[in-house]
């Protein structure tokens, strides 16, 4: 396994108490594979990506990269690690330095890591621009001169230039129009095929996640509620939250009729969460015991794990 995460926790201290942003998440990603993470705003999916990259320090749990425990590493080792682990951010309008040209942005990681001899940096930048489909004439352009799709290509180039093994894609296409979104998704799929990147693909868009992922984790209030191979999850969603989430996608087909499962209320607070199932308050199947005992992830089919006391019963 390239990356393994065990019981990872990240709490934030707030005036109201401990905010459980990520609370006991475990999974593994292999080279060349994509693990999709879906969930709604505030479920902790972005925090998860940042903790793995050490942009935030974990509160508990373990992160293993190529079998090595990297949960607590020194500065020097961390710098080395960050060559292999990169991130693509959501918003290409705020994640690029407005004062740096395309080439300066792509070049910066090379200057910092000194991975490539100075006289070859220009060549490397050009090569990267070709890889992500940015025309050479844009080499001295500033971000404000470019549209969202091209800016996101710069973001991709910047993440790839150090030839990482693992990339966190944090909502990489959410800020883009559909036709441009499709261009970037194709780019990410092609790059994975050619270079065997492992992606942690964080998104709230369920149709995108199904398309790009091998496996999918569904997150709710800092915890994984379901984890499954992508096709299986859509065929047989077992957790009531996943079922509601999938039924809520508007389908672009006039003949599509489906019973929509409407959830009660909204996300409850992740600050000092109550014991028991965190979804119980909104769950249409909740029973008294749900708010007493916290459900654990149980395997209901090969590779398909669900955290619900009644998951098996509901599988018709």
């Amino acid at each position: 396994m390239l990356l393994e995460v065990e019981n990872l926790k990240k709490y934030f201290q707030t005036p109201g108490g401990n905010l459980h942003a990520v609370d006991g998440v475990s999974f593994a990603i292999d080279t060349g594979k994509t693990l999709g993470v879906v969930g709604e705003s505030g479920c902790g999916k972005s925090t998860l990506g940042r903790v793995i990259l050490h942009l935030l320090e974990p509160t508990g749990g373990k992160i293993l990269f190529e079998g090595e425990d990297i949960t607590n590493v020194g500065k020097k080792k961390l710098k080395e690690l960050q060559r292999s682990m990169q991130i693509i951010f959501q918003d290409p309008f705020s994640s690029l330095n407005p004062r740096m040209t395309v080439s300066e942005t792509i070049r910066e990681p090379l200057l910092i890591t000194k991975l490539v001899p100075k006289d070859q940096i220009d060549r490397k930048v050009k090569e990267m621009m070709d890889t992500v489909g940015l025309a050479q004439r844009l080499v001295n352009s500033y971000p404000h001169e470019l549209d969202g799709g091209r800016r996101q290509r710069i973001g991709v180039a910047r993440a790839l230039v150090l030839n990482p093994k693992f990339i966190v894609c944090d909502e990489p296409v959410s800020a883009l129009d559909v036709s441009i979104q499709a261009q970037i998704i194709n780019l990410l799929l092609d790059l994975q095929k050619e270079r065997g990147f492992a992606y942690l693909f964080i998104t709230h868009d369920l149709s995108v996640v199904k398309y790009v992922s091998h496996d999918i984790c569904v997150m709710y209030l800092g915890q994984l509620v379901e984890k499954s191979p992508a096709a299986e999850l859509f065929r047989r969603p077992a957790h009531p939250y996943t079922q509601a989430l999938l039924s809520a996608i508007p389908v672009p087909d006039v003949d599509h009729r489906q019973e929509r499962i409407l959830l009660k209320g909204e996300l409850s607070s992740p600050i000092n969460p109550k014991p028991g199932c965190r979804f119980a308050a909104r769950c249409n199947f909740a029973k008294p015991e749900c708010s007493k005992k916290e459900p654990e992830l149980k395997e209901i089919a090969p590779g398909h794990l669900v955290a619900c006391h009644f998951a098996e019963n509901k599988q018709a």
Partner: protein, 335 residues
């Protein structure tokens, strides 16, 4: 087709420009649209297509300068709104036609209670006293699923989905005949979006309102709209009932939009390594330098020299299904 008498709003040849440092941006270029009573019409397209400009024109809310309505008529029950006086427009806004804006986080005034904000339009339009307006506002709150006890709460005490309900309550307070919803759920999570869409459908049925639904999401169009206009670079490129446009898609841009979507069914059947979406190549043309001919020509896979000669008119492909393309029916569509 709707009968003439049922038409509430009719837009004819609307053109809007913005004066910018880089030149004149032609945001809307000759749009014709009509909305019948009780009907939901979708305006779908990508960023910069001119959807919001159309909506703002109807309410005469285009910031002028830099914006300017250059041409056209907007007939509301036969009266041209573009010729109305400002006081007359103020009576129409919020009372007969109201609008829901995209971002509920910024559409509400943070220093007033939500109740006051709903009551404001009732007081203005219906000459009610404060106490009566409060009662009316509380009723509207319950209509959108918010307990009336929250009348005295401030926007920051509400979550995103609840704020959008408040915004909808403000829009509905005076029982408008036409509601313009500009990306009403784009800022919301999908389960909350489902709640809001369900509620809007319910309200449409109960109140018999007409709705103009502006969105970039074809799924929402399929679910909510009776008819749909696909907008590209300030023009309608395809117009028809939702069924016509979704089932007999003609325009290459509309086809491109559908092709760009990750197809959930294809993802089941295709091998992972073979997955590729079919994006539309290139980008939207520079709105300061729009060509005189087909705006989509430079991105169109079916382009011929013919396409780059004259403006392309909308042609009827049967039963009011209008398409702005010279080459349609598109070769290879039948496959």
């Amino acid at each position: 087709m709707k009968k003439e008498s049922e038409i509430l709003l009719q837009i004819r040849d609307l053109s809007v420009e913005y004066q910018t440092e880089d030149g004149i941006v032609k945001a809307v270029n000759g749009i014709d649209l009509n909305v019948g009573k009780g009907e939901t019409v979708g305006l779908v397209g990508e960023t910069g297509a001119g959807k919001t400009t159309v909506a703002l024109s109807i309410l005469r809310l285009i910031p002028d300068p830099p914006g300017r309505i250059v041409r056209g008529e907007i007939l509301w029950k036969g009266k041209d709104l573009l010729k109305e006086s400002i006081p007359e427009m103020q009576k129409i806004r919020g009372d007969h036609i109201s609008m829901i804006f995209q971002d509920p986080m910024t559409a509400l005034n943070p220093v007033h209670t939500i109740g006051e904000q709903i009551a404001e339009s009732v007081i203005l339009h219906q000459n009610l006293h404060k106490k009566e307006a409060e009662e009316a506002a509380k009723k509207t709150l319950e209509l959108v699923g918010i307990p009336k006890e929250r009348y005295f709460d401030y926007p920051h005490q509400f979550s995103g989905g609840m704020k959008q309900r408040v915004v909808i309550a403000i829009a509905l307070a005076c029982n408008p005949e036409l509601l313009i919803a500009d990306e009403p759920t784009t800022a919301l999570d999908v389960t909350i979006q489902a709640q809001i869409l369900e509620m809007m459908n319910q309200l449409k049925r109960d109140l018999g309102m007409s709705v103009i639904m502006i969105t970039h999401d074809l799924g929402i169009v399929a679910e909510m709209c009776d008819r749909v206009a696909v907008v590209y670079a300030g023009q309608i490129v395809e117009w028809g009932t939702t069924r016509q446009v979704f089932k007999n898609t003609y325009h290459p841009y509309t086809l491109g939009l559908f092709g760009s979507l990750p197809d959930m069914k294809a993802a089941d059947e295709q091998d992972f390594d073979e997955r590729r979406l079919k994006p539309i190549s290139g980008m939207m043309p520079d709105p300061t330098k729009l060509p005189d001919w087909c705006h989509f020509a430079e991105r169109c896979p079916y382009r011929t020299d013919e396409c780059e000669k004259d403006p392309i008119p909308l042609r009827d492909f049967g039963d009011g299904h209008l398409v702005r393309c010279r080459r349609c029916p598109v070769p290879g569509k039948e496959e």
